[in-house]
């Protein structure tokens, strides 16, 4: 880190020097008559500075972004090679261990049973028969499977420990042990291993534990790290100096410095607007890629994901096993999302629309000047604050009210409280978008209605609203898309149980809640459970994109009509 900072500072100084040199060179080339130059002298300075600083800084930034993972990969690769004998010994031991083969047989047996149970469950479901019994037996099988898996990993750990002690008690042995441990580790354990090793080697933060293997791993990283550090620093400096001298020679009276600089600037600007495209591409590709992995993990039963009625990702055991039937049926999530969105719209649309109508048609300008910002404050409040409000104020209130009215099963985390609060959050959306649309309705239409002797409300209801309807529909679509994608309120106030219900007093779960649960719950990135979050996000993305495009279309049509 330190050296990079110094290099960066040196580069900045070099860049400044480049500017001065470029300007001077321009004067020299013009032989004292700057008016002969194609461009102003400072442009030569900027151009030279650009060539001095930018490529070197980009290199440095690349190092900063990738250096660490590069060093880790190289060093650990080295160690894993050294651990090859241990790994071989471990593999043979695994193959010979009687406990293990017994356990594996048992698991194979269980998996076969589970397969049968699953197909029977499928059949029962298709035929509309009794499924509870199958589900229960499938659950039992799963528990048993989990237990066996646990035993297997215990045995594996035992064997690994016995293998690891075979390595000699010196540095080479430590390195081999480190490679072996790393090779065996799951991805998240690997992360932890690397973090700890780096902490010990470079003092970056605190290590969670300390072992000779970790120290050896850290030591293995050090030479690579030094090499990259110095070579990147040297390369950056060389590039800067090279750019400086080479470009300096290019400067002549006819050199079109300004045009070239402008070319670079407009390319940079173009690249910046390209980031938006890259972001979209990144979103689409990463969601698609991970979703495909998820669908592969559940045997491409995409229809079950989209139309299945049971959502319980916890049942899935591990990524290398066949997916669990029915566990990834997302319909309860879709239904929960729809229910909460519906409740939210029932609050936001009437309140927002009437507020917009009142503000644009009735309110005095003084009243408007106060009320509009107040409404906009509602939009500026962070959603996590709404979540807190829903959880601690609205939720308990609704529960108590429901109990008072005789609904005994009321819960604090209900679709109603989440939807209600989300509706409050969305009010300013509906109102400000509708306000724009209503104001865009030409005054001549209102005048026409008034001239017929219409009252104000008649003019609004019969003329202004029908004229503004497409725009309002667009606004509502945008609000719906917003509600579907809203996360914090539902995470805090809607609950986690995947209930398939239309009762707003029950707790439901939504797409976004499940994404949060799946991603924050378990760090095992490879499991179908975690991957399913991406599939959900893909659905969410497609849904909101569709709504947004539709809304923009509708609003555009509306604008075309009146502008």
């Amino acid at each position: 880190m330190q050296i990079s900072v110094y290099v960066a500072l040196a580069l900045l100084v070099l860049t400044a020097i480049g500017y001065l040199v470029g300007r001077r060179q321009a004067f020299v080339a013009a032989a004292g008559r700057p008016s002969e130059l194609h461009s102003l002298p400072s442009y030569y300075g900027y151009y030279l500075a650009l060539w001095t600083g930018v490529p070197a800084l980009i290199l440095l930034a690349l190092y900063g972004l990738t250096g660490t993972s590069l060093v880790n990969t190289l060093a650990m690769g080295e160690l894993e090679r050294e651990a090859a004998p241990l790994i071989r010994a471990y593999d043979t031991q695994l193959a010979q261990d009687p406990d293990l083969s017994r356990l594996n047989d048992a698991i194979a047996q269980l998996e076969a049973d589970a397969q049968v149970a699953r197909s029977e469950l499928d059949k029962a479901r298709r035929d509309g028969g009794e499924v509870a019994a199958y589900q229960r037996s499938l659950g039992d099988l799963t528990v048993e499977l989990n237990r066996l898996q646990g035993e297997i990993s215990q045995v594996q750990d035992r064997i690994a420990a016995s293998i690891a002690v075979r390595a000699p008690d010196n540095l080479a042995g430590d390195r081999a042990r480190a490679g072996f441990e790393y090779w065996r580790a799951t991805p998240d354990r690997r992360d932890l291993f690397l973090t700890d090793a780096r902490a010990l080697a470079f003092g970056e933060g605190f290590a969670s534990r300390n072992s000779s293997a970790l120290i050896a791993a850290g030591d293995a990283m050090r030479p690579w790290d030094e090499m990259f550090r110095w070579s990147s620093a040297g390369l950056a400096m060389a590039m800067a100096l090279g750019g400086l001298t080479w470009m300096r020679r290019q400067i002549t009276v006819t050199f079109r410095a300004r045009n070239r600089l402008e070319g670079v600037v407009s390319f940079a600007l173009f690249a910046m607007s390209g980031i938006a495209i890259l972001t979209t591409l990144g979103i689409v590709l990463s969601l698609l890629f991970e979703s495909i992995r998820f669908f592969a993990a559940i045997d491409w039963r995409i229809h079950e994901f989209l139309f299945g009625l049971q959502w319980s990702p916890q049942i899935a055991i591990r990524a290398d096993q066949v997916g669990q039937t029915g566990a990834f049926g997302a319909v309860p999530l879709f239904a929960g999302t729809a229910l909460i969105t519906l409740v939210a719209m029932c609050v936001a649309v009437p309140v927002g629309l009437f507020a917009a109508i009142y503000l644009s048609e009735y309110a005095s300008s003084r009243f408007r000047a106060i009320a509009k910002p107040v409404l906009e404050i509602l939009a500026g409040v962070p959603t996590v604050v709404y979540g807190f409000f829903a959880l601690l104020t609205v939720g308990p209130f609704i529960r108590d009210a429901a109990v008072l009215l005789g609904y005994e099963d009321a819960v604090t985390q209900s679709a109603l409280s989440a939807g209600l609060v989300m509706g409050i959050m969305i009010i300013p959306f509906v109102s400000s978008l509708s306000d724009d649309v209503i104001n865009a309705v030409p005054q001549s239409l209102r005048d026409g209605a008034y001239a017929m002797g219409a009252t104000k409300s008649e003019a609004v209801r019969h003329v202004v609203l029908p004229a503004a309807l497409p725009g309002i529909v667009g606004a509502i679509l945008l609000a719906v898309s917003r509600a579907i994608g809203e996360t914090m309120i539902v995470v805090m106030a809607a609950g986690q149980g995947a209930n398939l219900t239309a009762n707003p007093l029950e707790s439901v779960t939504t797409i976004t809640v499940q994404i949060v649960m799946l991603i924050t719950g378990d760090q095992e990135f490879e499991s179908a459970k975690t991957l399913s979050a991406f599939a959900l996000a893909l659905v969410l993305f497609a849904l909101t994109l569709f709504l947004n495009i539709a809304a923009l279309r509708v609003v555009e049509r509306f604008r075309e009509r009146y502008e």
Binding site: E262, G282, F389
Partner: protein
Amino acid sequence: MSKLAPIRDAVMERLPQRHRAEQRFQAYGLTAITLAVLFLTLLVGSILTQSLAAFTAHRLTLPVTLERELVDPRGDGSEASLRRGSYNAALQAALRDQFPTVHGVGELRELFGIYSAINASRLLTDVVNNPDLVGQSVDFEFPISDDADRYLKGASVSERQIDMNASLSIEIAGNVARLEAQEAVLAPFADRLRQVMADRANRYAAAAEAALASARQTIDPDEREILEAEAQRAQMRVQQLNERLRPGADFLLGPREPSLLVRAGDTIVRLTSITSGGREATGEVLLADQAWSGSVTRWSFWEIETPAATRLITDRQMVFVRLLEERGLVRNAFNALLFTNADSREPELAGVRGALIGTILTMVITIFLAVPVGVGAAIYLEEFAPRNRLTRLIEVNINNLAAVPSIVFGLLGLAVFINAFGLPRSTPLLGGMVLALMTLPTVIISSRAALKAVPPSIREAALGVGASRTQAVFHHVLPLAMPGMLTGSIIGLAQALGETAPLLMIGMVAFVADAPNFGFTGFTDPSTVMPVQIFIWSTSAERAFEARTAAAILVLLVLMVLFNAVAIYLRRKYERRW
């Protein structure tokens, strides 16, 4: 001379009705606005009232003797030795000095439960910074536990003390005390509690009835089984209660009933049973004054109405903190720790400093990425881009990107920045990058609007005097559009400031007990941000976190107001009209 024209008659006929409709309609509009304002008031009001409790905290000041053998185990006064000292033992000793009669392991555990041992680490820092303190006695001030704090604030327990003037003899044998009064002074309390229990028995009986009734109606055998079991349980409760309420029997007090304490000086006894006559009682000694025994006339009842089973502080702990408060060792003061500490599992020690620094670092990254890139992209699209399909695609794309749910950006960060690029998770660097991507569309859109608002005449004038397109834009258009771009960007950044969901995706939800370094290296320290801190606290079980969450929300809202105030200030200052 006025003639009634027929059209008027026709109109007049329906007019009242139409005017009523008009008034109704107007009322709807006004109601809508009132509702919205009401919601806002409720929101802010509830958060304000909830937060109040977090801004003060009860702090305990104890004279702590830093015995050399405790804090300097090696005896050489070196820092290494001082760091190995048992400071908590020193704190415990200081607390025991206050209650010399407390001995048993359980009692001591209750005593030491009124503060968190983590406080000792500050004592350690004090001593390490100033080794001369070893061997001396210092006044050490630290927060008491959140449960004790809530009790002293009257938030978790309702209680009352009644001074009595009647002769009462107290006989203490070990842990048990026998009380005998001349009159039936205990009777009213016992009767009232009896009534409470009788009510409870009636409620259980009713519940059992109801369960049985619905069990008869249901056809699902499983459900019936469940309901019947429920009814049985309720009936058992009724029986138990009736047993205890049997006339003539001693009245027994358990953890589900209010606690009845008798206090005479520093001797405090919790009654466990009262004879039916209300004259005699036995009890458990909570605290005994060594210097005292025998009979008193001036004593007091201390009725703790909240049953022990429903509160997190024990009777004895309440006695301890009350006595400490009476001795002037506990006082309620401004809770500075809320601002100077980072997160902690102990509510009384938790503060927003870590999240605040995390927020600042994250926002620095966001600002330095989103604003230049967003403004650059806007300049390109508005001033340079040819009107072709690619540009059109970028425009549509930006509009749609602005409506992508924020959580999706978090997943993008997880899949691309963490898993593909290997950037460190949970760090301000990563969080800032994700938020920058999220804010970018907003910045681009508002910057383009600001550029659009600059009249074309300015560009034409610049081009007219021979400036290149780039010069016209950078020298003339950009300075004029800057204020508008700034305000737009700030609004987008304010959104990022309050954003939570995408940061959950990239691991910023982890518990981080140390504030990140408020400097260059802090960008890659694990940290959290204000909104996420609010989320973490709001999901904590401890009730004391509720108030702290509300207080953290206030801090965040103040930040947002400041942010927006800057936007308004800039707009006012540079506002231009053409």
